[in-house]
Subunit: 308 residues, 2 copies
């Protein structure tokens, strides 16, 4: 059974002071910390491509795991909607070359946004098991600094650049339990890029998250024959402090089990959940956590991770 062996990340050191940015839009510190949730938004260097963020995260993973050899990697999936090139080639091919991975690797991109990590872990596990492969890298890197208009008050205070790399393989300490997914393309216009610039209808996205996510988590628990008491922590997409708080309240369990950690990262799209897992879950003594990602598409996915 393929599971999660290790996670590493890359968060650029440079970035934007969100208090200063908020002041420009007449937003005070209470708004920035309480509603947005992020005092600092990491930003990639102008010369860094999406593939470079992937390489940084993967190299951190290799450094942390001397038993993971480049030559033993046989799958590489990059979750992104802001890859290096215009549609083609896929970013994963560029990452294969920059990382010096063997040419026997199966590499492709998955196009998903904030729900991407939950889909991605099942996609890579499934692909590996279906094709008989042993060591996979699931990389998330969706630098919204490429598409966010710094003059758009609805988006420029929210998003941070980051990348994560997850080692998927046998004998993993964390296994994938049940998962549930959802898609509603009628909400596609709420988050989209036009002429290179990102647009988000924040109110619609907030309402969607509040309507879908708590109910979806309850359905997942019921399908898994679990209750909220069986879950040590909820790691949901860090869309904003307001969204995490509202989902936690609406869930009507123990809101303190919903991890909120975006002060120094912002909303890092598909990297937000693996950043939580890396920092709070993988080395914990917790037994079982629930994930939920939601966003562009509209798309959502929720899953249980557990120690076997």
């Amino acid at each position: 059974m393929i599971g999660i062996k290790s996670i590493a990340s890359y968060v650029p050191v440079a970035g934007v002071d969100n208090y200063a940015q908020g002041a420009k839009f007449e937003k005070d510190e209470e708004f920035i910390l309480g509603k947005i949730g992020s005092a600092f938004l990491p930003r990639k260097d102008a010369g860094q491509e999406t593939s470079d963020l992937c390489v940084e995260a993967a190299n951190a993973l290799f450094a942390n795991n001397p038993d993971l050899k480049r030559e033993s990697v046989d799958v590489l999936i990059v979750v992104t909607q802001n890859g290096d090139e215009e549609g083609l080639p896929h970013t994963a091919a560029i990452v294969q070359d920059k990382l010096g991975l063997p040419t026997t690797v199966a590499a492709f991109d998955i196009s998903l946004g904030c729900s991407g990590y939950v889909y991605g872990i099942y996609a890579i596990k499934g692909f590996m098991e279906a094709a008989g492969l042993k060591n996979g890298l699931l990389i998330t890197a969706d630098p919204y600094s490429k598409i966010v208009d710094p003059e758009d008050r609805n988006t420029t205070m929210l998003f941070g650049d980051a990348a994560t790399a997850t080692w998927m393989g046998e004998n993993a300490p964390w296994q994938l339990g049940k998962a549930k997914f959802g898609t509603d393309g009628s909400g596609a216009p709420h988050l989209k890029v036009t002429d290179g610039v990102f647009y988000m209808n924040g109110r619609q996205v907030f309402n969607f998250a509040l309507l879908k996510v708590p109910a979806h988590l309850h359905e997942l628990l019921a399908d898994s024959q679990l209750t909220a008491d069986d879950i040590d922590a909820f790691c949901i997409h860090q869309g904003s402090a307001a969204i995490v708080d509202a989902v936690a309240r609406r869930f009507e369990g123990e809101p303190e089990k919903f991890i909120k950690d975006m002060v120094e990262t912002g909303n890092t799209v598909s990297s937000s959940i693996p950043l939580l897992l890396e920092k709070h879950v993988l080395d914990s003594d917790w037994k079982r956590v629930a994930l939920s990602g939601f966003g562009v598409g509209l798309s959502w996915g929720s899953a249980i991770l557990y120690r076997p």
Copy 2:
């Protein structure tokens, strides 16, 4: 075990007379038929989006399979590098809405070109088995008419628009055997889009295909403990007549087992292999076929399909 239950396609009726187009570049009928391989190149209507091609192919699949209900579809994967929007949202979400599929569907795009179908069948099978899902649609639609410059003699005579839809599910007549994959991002510059226009170094791609594909098929057969005698037909990506002929010769088996059928379609990118399967394989009395897709990335993948 999830396998291939049915395949349907959509090939636009309108298109380009490739003899007339060839004459413009002083290419005669022998070149067009013998080297390019396509007398006609289907072209989508200017008003048709990629998602519309997906919908046409999926609706043909539903029409052919009354036992496949929209409400029972729980996964939808679109293989494309020329989706509807600029990066986000993903085309699969738009297709979910246009097809009227339930919002419980898991939907995402896979970014791959001519190797995409071989990867795609393992990705969707694996995802379904990992997440416990029952009925999946794997759709290919990569309309190169969006990016090909009609004045570029290296590409405009090659590509045709098409879409295919594959129903993946239980109790399927065709199962997936062993597969092998490969990626060489150092060749990424040989096929790419810059400022909205596609560029291909045809000579490099031809050499790559000739170097990789016959050897890859032999390795796949050896790994599967099969010989070429055990294979009823080879369905390789229809890049051009010259590529299919050269790969078949270099393979040094029975070249007549390599199906060549692109006269009325051109190179349809990730749709070329499922078009062959739909037309020549699914209703045949063959027992075992080999696939190989290769192209942008560079990326390649080969697999065995068999009747259980």
